[in-house]
Assembly symmetry: C2
Homo-oligomer: 332 residues x 2
């Protein structure tokens, strides 16, 4: 239903100049006499002219479009990161085309095909686990891409993110340092996230005398956190601390603890992972690990754009997690 819209030749006619000149002032390429320039701009204004992106893309094979694929946008940590990506791209006059994969490699592949077919010039993907075909496809076509939320310099594709393994291991050591030796680790579905797998492996890698770590897999939401706490209360082991590999799960633990009449941290220490906006507001305030999701989004976008504009290689980038000690873990 789109109305027939002004084209470059209308502007040319209106201003009494050639389309080449109009193109030059639209793009700022080459010199144009100031007065000529004014005439063109006036005509553009008058005709409400906006260059046709398809024609431009066809002519230059530049679409100024970057695609991002994320498993879900409904977890705040992804929302934060994708917001930063969008805003950074926007700053550089790029647009974000977004697809959601539901943590499914096939859906992801389908999405990438579609986005490629839409003219995306580069891809920001989440995590390191992708179907071979996807990576092949991108490589065959020479399309730039980066894996976010993970850091692994060994990978052939550049990664910008965290060392999930190391951070989780450190978290366990942090708890043992507080005197906890029976630790429950609560995490989301392993099948849905390689980051979860890495974190769990990291937590599992700590080997200290007398340390018992047990794992509880549960849906990655508040209800899942509640369910996990209930399960571990009934387990034989008397845990003194819970490490939730996501703040969302920790929130569930808080509610389940309240229901069970358990006080945090007196009866049970709880530690989170992510440092979501509200974790400082919990009562008691949640001890957690800050992941710089926004910075990651900004960096991923910046590097992708730099690569597109200058050809600079995208280098792997490690972002540090940061321990935020608050009131939900006590020393025993």
């Amino acid at each position: 239903m789109a109305k027939r819209v002004g084209r470059i030749r209308d502007v040319a006619r209106e201003s009494g100049l050639s389309i080449a000149t109009v193109s030059r002032v639209m793009n700022g390429t080459k010199f144009v006499a100031p007065e000529t320039r004014e005439r063109v701009l006036a005509a553009c204004q008058k005709l409400d002219y906006l260059p046709n992106p398809a024609a431009r893309a066809l002519s230059t094979s530049i679409t100024k479009t970057v695609a991002a694929v994320i498993p879900t946008i409904e977890h705040n940590i992804y929302a934060k990161y994708i917001t930063a990506v969008e805003q950074t791209l926007s700053l550089h006059k790029y647009s974000l085309v977004l697809a959601i994969s539901n943590a499914d490699e096939n859906e992801e592949l389908t999405a990438v095909r579609k986005l490629l077919g839409m003219g995306a010039e580069a891809f920001i993907l989440t995590g390191a686990a992708h179907s071979d075909e996807l990576v092949d496809l991108l490589n065959r076509r020479g399309v730039a891409h980066v894996f976010a939320s993970v850091w692994d310099p060994e990978l052939p594709s550049p990664t910008i993110g965290y060392d999930n393994f190391a951070i989780a291991a450190e978290a366990v050591r942090f708890l043992t340092g507080k005197g906890h030796h029976r630790i429950a680790v609560v995490h989301g579905a392993m099948s849905e996230s390689d980051r979860t797998r890495q974190r769990r492996a990291g937590a599992d890698s700590v080997d200290l005398p007398g340390l018992a770590v047990e794992f509880f897999e549960t849906p990655l939401n508040v209800a899942g956190g509640k369910a996990a706490l209930r399960r571990l209360i009934e387990s034989e082991t008397r845990f003194t601390a819970i490490l939730c590999l996501s703040d969302v799960l920790a929130l569930g633990c808080y509610f389940a603890a309240a229901e069970a009449g358990l006080t945090i941290p007196d009866d049970l220490s709880v530690m989170g992972f992510d440092n979501l906006d509200w974790s400082s507001e919990l009562y008691p305030a949640l001890t957690t690990i800050n992941l710089p999701a926004r910075r990651m989004g900004r960096l991923a976008a910046t590097h992708v754009v730099a690569h597109l504009e200058t050809g600079a290689a995208i280098e792997p980038l490690l972002l540090e997690g940061q321990f935020i000690e608050r009131d939900s873990v006590r020393e025993i």
Copy 2:
């Protein structure tokens, strides 16, 4: 850095057919002999061919792209809705280009310009308050658009959403029905959202003898909810119920209540708005109003696509809010 990629004429050469035939099988338009079709497909496969979207768009002026502009993606309610939009568009082979306006009309206008310049065929905007220039621009260019999250059949542009005014009024009446007559209404920044303004106005419209409603504006996040509760505890009025115009604020109230040693609902009834995923998990479970955000996203996308494909007008659509009575409001 994108590699030179197969074009339609390469496929034509490879398969020994004409480009027109290749185009036909790519698009499924017109009949092609099955055997010919196979040959083309084989050639496509071999050359890793994907049609150039810019050329196609230039030729047909169809981009299969829909733009959505939302104030933020970091509130779960928007994330839910935009997820539904993406998935529905995806189903219809459309792509979503996303922009975030930070609840700022100027940013929104800038974003729309950029998205228009990217070839978006239609817009899904959030709320009913937009700069005149924005609406003008869209109308001048005859670009389809719909306002989501609101319903107002009077508006010249179609709306798909809720009657925020009516629902908020109903919520107040619900509380008075439970015997509450001193009600605090906690809400986010009026300047950032016309939905907030409508809800507040709705709550304010209830005029019952002996009813006292007071308003507390606060940042729309958990910390804001906490702050609001602290403020209203210190106010002169002894409120018996709080109506939070967003569940996020209610969550803050829960934490602040815990800190203040107040029990919900014995000392204070709390009611939310939105029915976020975790509101049933709170302790006590939150009484709130469910807004069908996903359905709204799905409907907005469906109608926009239908309009694009068949020219069907987009009609205003009212979605009902639904009271979910749980344990956080008690009868007095």
